[in-house]
């Protein structure tokens, strides 16, 4: 049992560190949930891509470096430690790309991945609907067969980044006669400026248009923009959530960097006699280290051929609650005036809700990891 990295891994991390030191903007970019900030973050994606640092784990032919999971995690540690900007391409890179690698055609990969890597196409997700949230399989938006493609109708909502993004991907009901709700769904992609698409931005808690509603009215999608077999969308979408290559893991580097920042704030501004607050600063450090080591343990098990499966639900509950606690501590230390910590706090508050609510994750932990019987949700 060890935590030692090979010379090649160390070298990879050193090169990332050197590049980041030379390129990370000296001042934080404007919030990526604003039009101005979105554009600035898109430019940053281009700068990363120009030197092949935007998607290190992808094959070189699509703009990556073919990095393994250890290198990718080390890159992420360096990335966040350097104070680099948030990733506006996150949805595409971590959710759509793994699906394209596993289920897309060579034509789709060649056409879609390089502009994603360069930040030229920013992707939004189109999963949830007004009546289909945690119970996603009950979704109603339809895909009707048409000559050479499909016609989409219905409404999607809580579509992160859709206010300023270029394209979206999601699930649509293509076979209304299928016997079970999660059958007869098809995974499709469409431009957000296509005829028949209306994007209505929604202000999150602080008013910034971080997500949007999408209204689809006879939107034509060519067959080329279907991923995998029509009717098999559920399996395809779910497989991306547990992607074994680790492209979708929430990397610990971000939490390590945030904990380090909080410790510096504490040393600069904390009252040493306030041991209650000091204990919460300690918990930020402890939680980030726990998450980092949990991740390395998962990587080691993956390398040994073990499947992690429902453990991703443990992960999600842990980091989302940790993230809120850390930001709560920062606000108690520094106050609630607008700045990096308040922006981070508002973002953190969404964590237990998106990507499968923590209530759903706890059900999965209890049923799949502890073996408790299924019950009513």
């Amino acid at each position: 049992m060890d935590l030692d990295f090979t010379a090649a891994h160390e070298e990879f991390a050193r090169r990332a560190r050197a590049w980041l030191a030379a390129h990370v903007p000296p001042r934080p970019l404007p919030s990526l949930e604003t039009e101005e900030g979105f554009a600035a973050h898109r430019d940053w994606e281009g700068e990363l891509a120009a030197d092949r640092w935007s998607v290190v784990s992808w094959p070189e032919e699509y703009g990556g470096r073919g990095a393994g999971i250890v290198e990718w995690l080390l890159f992420e540690e360096e990335y966040w430690a350097a104070g680099a900007p948030g990733r506006v391409s996150q949805n595409g890179i971590s959710l759509l790309a793994p699906t394209l690698f596993d289920f897309g055609t060579p034509e789709q990969r060649a056409r879609l991945l390089p502009p994603m890597a360069r930040g030229e196409t920013i992707w939004a997700q189109a999963w949830s609907e007004p009546e289909a949230g945690s119970d996603l399989a009950s979704l109603r938006a339809t895909a009707r067969r048409a000559c050479g493609g499909w016609v989409l109708n219905g409404q999607k909502t809580w579509s992160s980044r859709a206010a300023f993004a270029d394209r979206a991907f999601g699930l649509f009901r293509s076979d209304p006669t299928a016997d079970r709700p999660h059958r007869g769904l098809t995974y499709l992609m469409f431009p957000l400026d296509a005829d028949g698409v209306t994007v209505r931005p929604i202000g999150r808690l602080d008013g910034k248009p971080a997500f949007a509603e999408l209204f689809l009215d006879d939107v034509f999608v060519p067959d080329d923009d279907v991923i995998g077999e029509p009717g098999h969308g559920w399996r395809i979408a779910m497989s991306a959530t547990g992607d074994e290559r680790g492209l979708t893991l929430r990397p610990p580097g971000r939490f390590l960097a945030t904990a380090g920042r909080l410790v510096r704030e504490w040393r600069a501004h904390g009252d040493p006699s306030d041991t209650a607050l000091r204990d919460r600063v300690a918990d930020a450090v402890i939680g980030a280290r726990a998450y980092q080591l949990f991740t390395w343990a998962g990587v080691a098990r993956g390398a040994a051929g073990e499947s992690l499966g429902a453990e991703s639900s443990l992960n999600k509950v842990f980091w989302s609650e940790h993230d809120i606690a850390v930001h709560e501590t920062a606000l108690d230390l520094l106050g609630t005036e607008c700045g990096e910590w308040t922006e981070g706090y508002v973002f953190a508050l969404a964590g237990p809700i998106y990507a499968g609510t923590n209530e759903i994750q706890r059900d999965l932990v209890a049923e799949r990891l502890l073996g408790l019987p299924k019950g009513r949700r």
């Binding site: 049992m1 204990d279 726990a290 080591l293 343990a297 706890r362 059900d363 502890l370 408790l372 019987p373």
Partner: protein
């Protein structure tokens, strides 16, 4: 990077698990609480024969170590089986004496280690004063009281720039965990070391005590979780297993989250300790101590609640782990002290 127990380490855990299951440790723990040490000391000799105490000692003193990862593996099993006795204190004493030998004071190790390593003797240890750590040094040890002194033949008092063999102890007093009785060590006795040597050896003992306590907490927590999962699967109310209700499921899911994220901290601390006592090791040991103590405590609270009144009875074996989880959380320094250490030691 291979942050994973190897086959040999897993086999070691399985063999200890098998041995302790066969030994009937709950009965030994109850006897221990009643002051009858014989069944517990029989288990103790078995642990010695299995090499548990040799893991902390170097080869020149009858050991096979120092092996912190294997020690953590063993202590998870000791916690899982609610094994009574001054386990942490003995391992900490072994490392203290080993460190003194490294520093050129070999006589105490030569004299005392063989018995401690082979399981024919047990040690207890108290830390006192300000020299015990790089921190404030307050509140370490069992409040300067010695655990299970009446079952130990080696009574060590460390701190304030000296390590001594105490000549005896006061009458043991009961504590919340009836299997953990504490006494004060008497003043005087033989001074084994003083000054910087004593301080360095005492720091080593504290590091290993933190690791072993954290690992023991983890095992206690997993035992509580496993027993509670089994119970709620079988217990039926309103025509359904209570484990099918969301309120029950979610509470147990949170217990698993706590334990699953404490576990890598415990083994991370062991790896850091094996790599030398650097700053990362100091953070990792403190993090493990805090997280495992909290996780076991939360497991205990959930286990009691979900067992209902049954769990509140002394007769039911769950009580052995419930009370141990609470006692271990504060053993070798409370969570506040260790959290303070995290903030002081971490880079920023």
């Amino acid at each position: 990077m291979r942050f994973l127990l190897d086959d040999e380490q897993r086999a070691f855990a399985r063999s200890l698990d098998g041995m302790l299951t066969a030994a009937g440790t709950p009965a030994a723990a109850r006897a221990w609480a009643a002051g009858e040490h014989a069944p517990g000391l029989a288990v103790w000799r078995g642990l010695g024969a299995a090499g548990v105490f040799a893991l902390a000692a170097p080869e020149e003193h009858a050991g096979v170590g120092p092996l912190p990862v294997e020690t953590a593996v063993a202590f998870v099993e000791l916690g899982r089986h609610a094994v009574p006795g001054p386990l942490v204190e003995t391992v900490a004493s072994v490392t203290l004496l080993s460190r003194l030998a490294e520093l050129g004071v070999p006589d105490p190790a030569k004299r005392l280690l063989p018995g401690l390593v082979d399981g024919s003797a047990a040690a207890t240890l108290t830390l006192t004063g300000t020299s015990t750590s790089t921190s404030t040094g307050t509140g370490t040890g069992t409040g300067t009281r010695a655990l299970d002194a009446d079952a130990a033949t080696v009574l060590l008092a460390a701190g304030d720039g000296e390590v001594r063999l105490a000549p005896g102890h006061t009458d043991p007093r009961a504590s919340l965990d009836p299997a953990r009785r504490s006494a004060a060590l008497l003043p005087g006795g033989e001074r084994l070391a003083s000054g910087t040597h004593a301080d360095a050896a005492t720091r080593r003992a504290l590091d290993w005590a933190a690791l072993a306590t954290a690992a023991q907490c983890l095992g206690v927590g997993y035992a509580l979780l496993d027993r509670t999962v089994a119970y709620v699967r079988g217990r039926t109310q309103f025509g359904a297993p209570v484990g099918s209700f969301q309120a029950v499921k979610h509470r147990l899911a949170d217990v698993l989250v706590g334990l699953a994220f404490a576990r890598p901290l415990v083994f991370g601390a062991a790896v850091s300790l094996a790599g030398g006592g650097d700053r990362q090791a100091e953070v990792d040991l403190a993090a493990a101590k805090v997280a495992a103590g909290d996780a076991a405590h939360h497991a205990a609270r959930a286990a009691l609640q979900l067992h209902g009144a049954l769990g509140y009875t002394a007769e039911y074996d769950l009580s052995l782990w419930l009370l141990k989880a609470r006692a271990l959380r504060g053993a070798w320094g409370g969570a506040g002290e260790w959290r303070g250490r995290v903030v002081r030691a971490v880079g920023g």
